[in-house]
Symmetry: C2
Subunit: 203 residues, 2 copies
């Protein structure tokens, strides 16, 4: 009997430019090999407390390069890109809304995640704002008032915290961080390695 095929795990922060680039590619890539992807938004702020890392754009020299590389890598991957005016930005509300939607309907949560990333990195929206998050969730059928109340509920806070802790426990230190059958890949630039891994079952 063939064992059930594990989902590819896709960890990301909604404020991560390279996470956004990976988000536009990972489902199609997985589907080409008959695989599905489990999306797991996390908060890089929580992760960076463990690693001592800082947001890329705040690192001397590397910051300026990164801004340039975000756009160029987007063109390379044929993904629209417009760097957010406010950056870095807080993605707590977006991540909480994702998990709230996910408990009701995985497909809507996925569509919501895409819409958040595109709002942030292609449409110039400020996704740190609860109003923007609620609007995007409402487009996926969420009841705005119910979600608005839930965003500050203890249950949802704890759910996101548990997801971040679980990610740290798996060694996630940045975004995107993609795990294929236990094999970890960090960065949108590892997509070609992921493709070969899926094609050959390792290399």
């Amino acid at each position: 009997m063939t064992p059930p095929v594990e989902c590819i795990e896709f960890y990301f922060d909604f404020s991560s430019p390279y996470g956004y680039l990976a988000s536009e590619k990972i489902d199609d890539l997985a589907a080409r090999f008959g695989r599905k992807v489990k999306w797991r938004p996390i908060l890089l702020g929580v992760v960076f407390k463990q690693t001592g890392a800082a947001p890329l754009t705040l690192v001397p020299l590397k910051g300026e390069y990164s801004l340039h590389d975000f756009s160029r890598s987007a063109r390379f991957l044929d993904v629209p890109y417009k760097h957010p005016e406010t950056f870095p930005l807080n993605t707590m509300h977006a991540a909480r809304a994702y998990y709230w939607l996910h408990e009701q309907d995985c497909a809507r949560a996925r569509a919501f995640a895409h819409s958040v990333y595109r709002a942030c990195f292609a449409e110039g929206r400020d996704i740190s704002q609860p109003d923007v998050v609620l609007e995007l969730a409402a487009r996926q059928g969420a009841d705005r008032a119910t979600l608005s109340a839930a965003l500050n509920s203890q249950a949802l806070k704890e759910r996101l915290k548990a997801e971040c802790d679980a990610a740290l426990g798996k060694g996630v230190f940045g975004s995107p961080y993609i795990i294929v059958d236990g094999e970890p890949f960090f960065g949108a630039d590892r997509l070609p390695q992921i493709e070969r891994w899926l094609a050959s079952g390792g290399f």
Copy 2:
């Protein structure tokens, strides 16, 4: 009249695993587009003082992943790889010897640089040791006694310092850092972008 074609600039530290991977590919890649490469070893220690960065393997969580990714990326690029027993390591002598050789003969300096990288990342040699550096330089025809004296000369110290300062002035913050007609690319994983850049004159 066609303007003279600029060299591609390849900045690296001899202790950089991803620099080593790029070193095995960059000349052939450039040659496919009729281009030459100027190799410029630097000391990441000097650069990291500006950026506050630490060697990858010393960063919590990221360190363990990096060790795994060095080997996997080497297999992906079909380059032999054996992680050095001592790491990070001091590459001051190797970089100084490179510039000493380079003043006499560019081609021998290039061959020496390849041999240093392969000694470090494929053959298990400790290239932080002056004796190892002298042995590798002697194989390229260097007079061992003359180079040994030169390694601690003020002139050679200043040459390497000037190269590191010049690199910082160009925005170099890590290794490998490759500049193609003013366009900067950081990391061995940017080789596909470099290839497209060379093929199309930008994208």
